[in-house]
Symmetry: C3
Subunit: 277 residues, 3 copies
């Protein structure tokens, strides 16, 4: 239905609320804040489909002049996002691996350099790529449940986070904590993640969205233009480095993931996940 | 009057105590420590005149072999320095903007790379350029009054701190705290500033100068030569980066500040300041 | 004697336990963990001989497929390592200085980029070069005795840590703490070193090796290949920078240490150390 503020006779703005298979977005026109929910049960794996919808959703919001900020959260209980979908990296063609990796890069590029204020409301566990999504936002609030953990745990799967995951991590927690955490593939329970600076704030789970809205309001109190230029100043060096090495990074990923030893590791990991259920 | 240690018949050393309109300097020859006080009421705005006198004062001290360290503080109650003088950035010619910005750069270059030990005794609030002055010293002691705040709050005025403000900030508090604080234009009350590492130490206001002298003595216990080379090693990369981009940085500033939208923001800010009085 | 697990008639594996003048190494084949003890009384000065044996020892372990990690500790009471042997830097030929410095570089290169998991069990004081050895490991555990201190105190001797000491330090504790500590030549008692992140963990001295073994087991739980690639990703930039400037760094050292003023400082320091005994 048209908003009461909508002048009669004018067409509705193109983007106010939309929903795809894996992403659900609602924009509150009065505040300029969108809520983007990942809804790809059981664990919000970052499949090619989810990544693509995520990027399209962000693009729409960026192009919508009514939107100034987006809160990213999960519609699935207990999990924010489990990270990259391993089925996309296993037993597929090299073309598929390349397409998948380009989509991962695209999401990070779009999110890390978004002109919108981006707040992650981390309402569940968030390993690997899920952690990257949170780290790419401007601010991270996490449910204070110690059963929820977050971190870049790639080494535990026998794989290696790419340099831009690493640099995003270093920019958040510093070189030393990153060095140790990445080598150990550490997943930190929410309280420890907060202590290390991996998330900015903990709140009881039922207050998470309320708190996210309050934080968003604080960020939106700043003039967009000055805030955006400042964000660019902080993040441009890393974005440029990634763009400069983008094709090389795709090649590295494809070569690495195509190795029989890595395929075997990933298959074993998937078997383990299946058994765990 | 000549110091009692001054051999009779010899001319006085050129710099022992001097005072300009906006800066007052006294050098204690026995300790080698100078006290430099900013005295430009009501709020020690960094006007072109103050900046120029500040740089000349530092230069004199650096060339005085009796001087090994300088304590920088304010002669004005409740304010260390309110930062760049907005009247210099408003309704003036582009030539004036360029001259002003060059003077801001010069102060930072001189202070950040000074061969003297530099201790900031922050005895009042210190926003924006005032914060930069403190950050450019070797050590910051702040009066523990929570009414005094410090930070780079440029975005709150609709403007953007230049890259070398940002890098000086990052070198002090790390990338993550800088990213958040610069976007939000955060001004931190003294206790929080201390917790974040923006200042090194808090003391009761009445003990500030005493403490600054004690810290200075600790730094002067080191051999000057080794300490200076170490300081250069830590700061040279940023100094070189700034020098390499100096003219470009001036152009950016002049273009930015000449925009009508920015002029309007600054005029509104000045109106607000006037009404507040 | 051959291990009871050694099949009769086969030659002994080349490296299981070996001992040189200054270094003692034992490899536990079941765990893959070597213990390397510095035993150069009275204070484990890093002499040319010790440095050379250290590098050879590491090389042997890296080439031994049974070895996955090494714990580095001291066989001398109260001291982990007192740092570079000043007698190697005093009253010798420029050729000797160059040879000595190349050996210091070589140790750091080998240790900082080792493919093994490296844990420092810091069971005593560890100034200057001793601190560098600890910082170059993957993890540092220190005896919680406040009489033991650690830090890069070069400026206290009138000398300057080279850039790669500095960068190793910055990578561990961040820019600000490094800037202050290096200028002041700060030696931190164990509790303060822990608070600053200079060491990762404190334990009672009698539990040090037990704890080191537990930490090592935790690191060895990760697949070697992914962990090694991740370590390289974190450390390669600094290693490359050092290699690129290696010859220049040697020249700088030789020129610096050959100065009469520096020679005098070092002689005075050695006199002071002799008197203290």
């Amino acid at each position: 239905p048209p908003s009461p503020l909508q002048p009669p006779g004018l067409p509705l703005a193109p983007c106010r609320s939309f929903s795809n298979n894996k992403i659900q977005v609602e924009l509150d026109e009065s505040s300029g804040v969108a809520m983007m929910k990942l809804k790809s049960p059981p664990v919000n794996s970052l499949s090619l489909e989810l990544l693509t919808e995520f990027v399209i959703g962000l693009e729409k919001l960026e192009n919508d002049r009514a939107c100034r900020g987006v809160i990213i959260t999960s519609a699935v209980p207990k999990v924010f996002s489990s990270g990259l979908d391993i089925t996309e990296m296993c037993g597929k063609s090299t073309e598929h691996y390349a397409e998948f990796w380009r989509a991962v890069q695209e999401l990070w590029l779009r999110l890390y350099s978004s002109s919108l204020v981006t707040v992650a409301a981390v309402n569940g566990s968030s390993p690997a790529g899920g952690c990257l999504v949170a780290l790419s936002c401007d601010y991270r609030i996490m449910a204070e449940n110690p059963k929820f953990s977050i971190g870049l745990n790639e080494t535990q799967l026998g794989i290696v986070a790419p340099f831009w995951f690493k640099d995003t991590f270093v920019n958040t927690v510093g070189h030393r904590i990153a060095e140790r955490s990445l080598q150990l593939g550490s997943l930190y329970p929410a309280p420890e993640a907060h202590k290390l600076g991996l998330v900015d704030e903990l709140v009881p789970e039922e207050k998470l969205l309320e708190k996210a809205a309050a934080v968003m309001a604080q960020w939106l109190a700043l003039p967009d233009h000055a805030r955006q230029l400042t964000k660019t100043m902080m993040r441009k060096a890393l974005v440029d480095r990634m763009v400069a090495h983008r094709e090389e990074d795709i090649k590295n990923f494809v070569t690495f993931v195509s190795k029989e030893s890595i395929q075997k590791s990933l298959r074993m990991y998937m078997e383990m996940l299946k058994k765990r259920k």
